[in-house]
């Protein structure tokens, strides 16, 4: 594996909890690898499978989605909808040949900066082990 490769992770974080969790991690100066690019969404229920697939298509090696704890959703049931979508999507990814480990979702509240940092570190390690997805080369093939 090329030494200069660093995992590229796209992290969709919900405005009310996980994004706050990332903030808490930052304010508390908790260390985690800088491989994640965070995209703030209003709710994990806003994340649809096509967003995750598009992230992979456009070069992500891993995709993370963070939502409020079950029962804590700012919009009441958004994260339950996301939970079902996420599990269905996992099956889809498996079938299309993308290791399901490249896709991770967690429930992280705004006060759980530590959990955010820990999850990001773990996910970084997982992607590091799996290596680059290298989709772009094959997308160009005729």
């Amino acid at each position: 594996m090329a030494k200069d490769w660093e995992p590229k992770i796209i992290a969709f974080c919900c405005n009310w909890c996980s994004y706050g969790g990332a903030d808490t991690a930052g304010v508390g100066r908790m260390q985690h690898p800088p491989s994640a690019r965070i995209v703030r969404v209003m709710c994990s229920g806003r994340v649809e499978p096509s967003l995750v697939l598009k992230a992979f298509r456009e070069g992500a090696d891993g995709v993370f989605v963070g939502g409020c704890h079950l029962g804590d959703c700012h919009y009441q049931s958004g994260n339950y909808k996301w939970w079902r979508r996420a599990e269905a999507l996992k099956r889809y990814l498996e079938q299309i040949g993308i290791e399901p480990e490249r896709f991770r979702y967690e429930w992280i509240s705004a006060s759980e900066g530590e959990k955010f940092a820990q999850v990001m570190t773990e996910f970084h390690e997982t992607i590091l082990e799996l290596g680059p997805l290298k989709l772009d080369e094959r997308l160009k093939k005729l």
Partner: protein, 298 residues
């Protein structure tokens, strides 16, 4: 007006659908000269100066690429006729396998094949491309007319518009909007997922509400909801609407969101258990044009 048609990786069903115009075809062809049509005519070469080319089928081998490129060069307007042309179609599910696996399956492994030496044809046949493509991956396309096959009336409308020098238009909305089945006013709720063979569908109510995986919400309108009208769930043959990037992902999202949407705490386990084969179910017609258009670990 000089029209050429051809077929690439397809079944010629779209040509047959065009012939289903019957008398209307005669009217349509009053001002039209059919200069190239391998399905009907004994022609070897594509003539120069074609006004409109109707191409059916996607790209599966080198010959398809060559024919598509030649027609693009010689034709003023290129129309992708049918779902294989627009999105790769059912043959696109081959993208879930490697070419080696496919050739083995076809020429060696099938139970009725006698091929002791395991010979795979390699001489005088065009090489397979790495995967199936919609032909818009290879050449520029002016208009797309999806459907498996497109309804004869839609074909006539598109051709008439082009002959008149107008832009042909497709409905941008989804199938549910033209489906006459009764839908719950509060929105879609799917209480359980049923296979098409399980139970007997209520003749008037929305099929999805009854648990049958009807692709209506993720599929472009234009066929008049023929299948749901006949009690058969839509399989999504017309591809995605203008508003979605990936038909399969859209359907996955719809099903997961609506599954027991009236209950708060739903464990997704049961849903996943019932979605055994989401890729072939939701991307049956559009895998080669979807966001992840092939099995990545093939």
């Amino acid at each position: 007006m000089r029209i050429a048609t051809t077929w690439l990786c397809c079944c010629s069903g779209c040509h047959v659908s065009m012939l289903d115009l019957h008398e209307r075809l005669l009217k349509l062809f009053e001002d039209v000269e059919l200069v190239h049509c391998p399905v009907l005519m004994d022609v070897k070469e594509i003539p120069d100066d074609v006004d409109v080319a109707l191409i059916e089928g996607g790209i599966r081998n080198e010959e398809n690429v060559e024919v598509a490129e030649e027609l693009r060069e010689k034709a003023e307007v290129v129309v992708a006729l049918g779902t294989c042309a627009c999105y790769g179609g059912v043959p696109g599910l081959a993208n879930l396998f490697s070419n080696e696996e496919l050739l083995e399956a076809v020429y060696v492994e099938t139970a009725s094949t006698e091929n002791e030496e395991g010979t795979i044809p390699s001489e005088g046949v065009p090489e397979l491309t790495w995967r199936v493509h919609p032909f818009s991956d290879v050449i520029e396309v002016d208009y797309e007319l999806p459907g498996c096959p497109p309804e004869p009336d839609r074909i006539a409308e598109v051709l008439e518009a082009i002959l008149e020098g107008e832009e042909p238009e497709l409905p941008g909305y989804n199938l549910c909007e033209e489906c006459p089945r009764e839908k719950r006013e509060e929105g879609l709720i799917i209480p359980e997922i049923r296979r098409p063979v399980e139970g007997e569908p209520d003749p008037d109510r929305c099929l999805l509400e009854q648990g049958y995986l009807c692709m209506g919400p993720a599929t472009r309108a234009g066929c008049g909801a023929r299948c749901p009208k006949a009690g058969v769930p839509c399989t999504g043959c017309a591809g995605p609407t203008d508003r979605s990037v990936d038909q399969g992902a859209r359907m996955l999202s719809t099903i997961a969101s609506a599954f027991r949407a009236d209950e708060d705490e739903v464990d997704p386990g049961e849903l996943v258990e019932r979605l055994r084969d989401p890729v072939s179910w939701f991307c049956r017609f559009t895998l080669p044009a979807s966001l992840i258009p092939f099995r990545v670990d093939r």
